[in-house]
């Protein structure tokens, strides 16, 4: 009978929705010709009018990178990247003389962010959220700066921090992710263009959510942003990043570094909604997302990573915590959804150094279409981690019968008093669940998104309220074309 379409076919139909953020904006830009050598690094540094120490820092990274090899251990496959065919710097032309206020920003740029649902006009902005917008390689606008300044909070482009707060940048840049940490971190250290800088003074609770929206616009351009967040003793901050890119047939490289420093008794909550262009349904195009994110937690400090990953053709990302101080806490809550030909190798590292440190890992992987999703996580208890605890839960949900879910847990325990727990499950969106929902009058689309959202509930509840709603909707859109 014609109405008896199989569950698989229905879900596949659902998964065919288009990438909503896939438009390209016609903005004039200054883009560096492709290629990478010392002159490129010097050029970028000169564009930013950086002091000598910053240039030296970049060059040291570049020289290290030249000697390094691309990592191949991740469970992802993609053609070799030609690093000489990428442009390492692109700036909207109108940014040459950085605008002093929003009124001076190219209206086309503001329109781009509005299309993405990110209002940059402060009066229209999401209540209580300050936004830094990074377009290609340059931060275009940061909202609510004055209000934050009153609280002593610094929230500005990192290129500006290099000039205005050199002592902080010198002290902390590379302190958590050293230049030579890995291939992509070294590349980022050499050519990073911009990103956000956050400083929360001692004892201050940041009065609003901070967020950065990254947008890659130019063709053949890599985006290398660098984020540094420093939370002084007893301070508290919640930060969110979002990312989108136009639909292009070529793959584009995104290699970011994020460093978090949580000093004694501080809390940093870092949430990501990653929606880079994932490529089309045949696997053409999409962003290569190779990101290094790490935080260091001092005594009694807490670092919490929450990520919702629905975009990118290839994701290689392990937001990690070094639990250095006694009683420090690390958390990782992750939803990674792959569809069509997407590949994700993501997870975390929890390095327990201090006494009574504890970590929690909740990772939810959803695979649909012909995609592959892997969880890769390391829990390490060092000899000094007396009484440390870890709890890990990895759940995989499969949609259809052509996708894959993989789990690679690494556990290294060098302290006999440490307690490590690991739970893992794999399940499917079953025909029975679909039938129950549909028999109660829900259409297939609603049924799938409800079941998947239910699966992700533990992670979504960690997101700031308005972003939890956004994340749920994003999943709905990303799922179009894949259940069974």
């Amino acid at each position: 009978m014609s109405e008896q379409v199989s569950g698989n076919a229905q879900v596949e139909d659902l998964m065919r929705k288009d990438y909503a953020a896939g438009f390209h904006s016609a903005i004039e830009s200054d883009t560096l010709p492709p290629g990478l050598d010392e002159d490129t690094v010097r050029f970028i540094s000169a564009q930013k009018e950086e002091p000598e120490w910053m240039l030296e820092w970049r060059l040291k990274a570049y020289r290290a990178w030249r000697e390094m090899a691309e990592p191949t251990w991740a469970h992802v496959h993609y053609p070799e990247i030609d690093f000489s065919s990428i442009s390492y710097y692109s700036s909207p032309k109108s940014m040459k003389n950085r605008p002093k206020s929003l009124d001076e920003v190219d209206p086309e740029l503001i329109a781009t962010y509005e299309k993405l649902g990110i209002p940059l006009h402060e009066q229209a902005a999401l209540a209580g959220v300050a936004v830094d917008a990074v377009f290609d390689s340059v931060s275009v606008v940061t909202t609510f700066r004055e209000k934050l300044y009153e609280a002593g909070v610094i929230f500005c482009p990192i290129s500006e921090a290099v000039h205005k707060h050199p002592e902080l940048v010198k002290k902390y840049l590379g302190s958590v992710v050293p230049q030579k940490d890995n291939f992509y971190a070294a590349l980022n250290s050499a050519v990073f263009s911009d990103g956000s800088f956050v400083y929360i003074p001692k004892g201050v609770r940041c009065p609003m959510e901070l967020s950065t929206y990254f947008r890659i616009n130019e063709l053949n351009t890599g985006q290398f942003e660098r984020t540094l967040i420093i939370a002084e003793e007893g301070s508290h901050v919640s930060y969110l990043e979002g990312c989108t890119a136009p639909m292009r047939d070529e793959n584009q490289l995104h290699a970011a570094v994020v460093e978090l420093v949580a000093l004694d008794d501080a809390t940093i909550k870092y949430s990501t909604v990653q929606n880079w262009y994932p490529g089309d349904k045949n696997g053409k195009g999409g962003i290569y997302n190779f990101v290094t994110k790490r935080g260091i937690a001092h005594k009694n400090a807490r670092i919490s990573w929450t990520q919702v990953e629905t975009g990118s053709a290839v994701t290689w990302k392990y937001p990690s915590c070094i639990l250095k101080g006694d009683n420090s806490v690390g958390e990782f809550y992750s939803v990674a959804l792959t569809n069509n030909f997407q590949q994700a190798d993501t997870g975390t590292k929890m390095i327990h150094l201090g006494k009574n440190t504890s970590s929690t890992i909740i990772a939810k992987g959803i695979s649909a279409g012909r995609s592959n999703s892997s969880y890769r996580g390391l829990v390490r208890m060092n000899p000094g981690a007396e009484g440390a605890r870890n709890f890990t839960q990895c759940d995989s949900l499969l949609i259809g019968d052509q996708c894959g879910a993989h789990t690679f847990p690494y556990i290294e325990n060098r302290n006999s008093s440490a307690v490590i727990e690991h739970e893992a499950t794999t399940s499917k969106v079953s025909d029975d669940q679909m039938f129950l929902c549909q028999q109660r009058g829900l259409d297939a689309e609603k049924a799938v998104s409800m079941i998947v959202n239910g699966f992700c509930r533990e992670v979504f509840k960690e997101l700031p309220m308005e972003f939890a709603v956004e994340a749920g909707k994003l999943l709905e859109v990303s799922l179009e074309g894949s259940v069974g």
Binding site: M1, G441, L442, G454
Partner: protein, 249 residues
């Protein structure tokens, strides 16, 4: 209400229903009994349009419309409800969220406005008490960690909230103790009225002591081999199904 005319249906290339005809009028309660493998559950699945149940020939009219032209959710919104024998769990999706989505879908279909969250919550709480489920079950995941009896009561609660015109109970009595059975039966009886019809599929006569049917049909070999009133159910209880086997073509 429901007219089934010479229905032939198969599952995985095996024909299960043969020339089955059945006419159910508004307000009637029909019990379908029969031995294991007779096609009792298949009938409910075919009527609700479940994947894998293929209609080979015959026609079905539901509330004056051609049922076979409708998809699963459309049949549900038109007022067809199946209470499952083994209700499945949907982890992380709260019962409240699920029920509201279902009720909203049905109301939208009927041209009614969605209920406000406040009104719905009140309605759901009251309804849960009618099936002796603590309102805390509304906050839990759909059937997640529910006992067998709680799952069945949850089904009846859904039925009450959706106010269907045709309720199909698929061996709702299986695995229930006598107390739970009475709760389920009184829920069903409270819903009986001149507009609403029921198909009660069961293996045992016991349920029919509590939900007294207007008609009893015996299904064997995929066709109705005998029809009668509630006395037929007692006869079956006493004699078993064996004596009817001769009537199977």
């Amino acid at each position: 209400m429901l007219e089934i005319n010479k229905l032939n249906a198969q599952v995985e290339d095996k024909q299960i229903l043969h020339d089955l005809s059945l006419n159910i009028k508004a307000g009637e309660v029909h019990a379908i009994m029969g031995p294991n493998g007779s096609g009792k559950s298949t009938l409910g699945n075919v009527l609700t349009g479940r994947d894998g149940y293929e209609v080979l020939s015959g026609d079905i009219t539901f509330n004056g419309k051609n049922l076979l032209d409708m998809g699963i959710e459309e049949r549900a919104r038109e007022g067809m409800f199946l209470a499952f024998q083994y209700p499945v769990e949907i982890p992380g999706v709260s019962n409240m969220e699920f029920l509201k989505a279902a009720v909203d879908a049905r109301r939208k279909h009927q041209g009614l406005e969605e209920l406000s969250s406040f009104d719905f919550m009140k309605l759901a709480r009251d309804t849960s008490k009618n099936v002796s489920l603590d309102p805390s079950f509304l906050k839990r995941g759909v059937n997640e960690g529910f006992s067998g009896g709680e799952k069945k009561r949850n089904e009846i609660m859904q039925m009450m909230l959706l106010e269907p015109s045709l309720c199909i109970l698929d061996e709702t009595d299986s695995g229930l103790d006598i107390d739970a059975l009475q709760v389920v039966a009184s829920g069903v009886n409270a819903m009986r009225n001149s507009e609403r019809s029921f198909i009660v599929v069961t293996h045992y006569q016991r349920l029919l002591d509590f939900i007294v049917p207007d008609y009893v049909h015996v299904l064997a070999g995929g066709k109705i081999v005998k029809s009668g009133d509630k006395e037929l159910a007692r006869e079956l209880e006493a004699k078993g199904y064996g004596w009817l086997e001769g009537e199977v073509a």
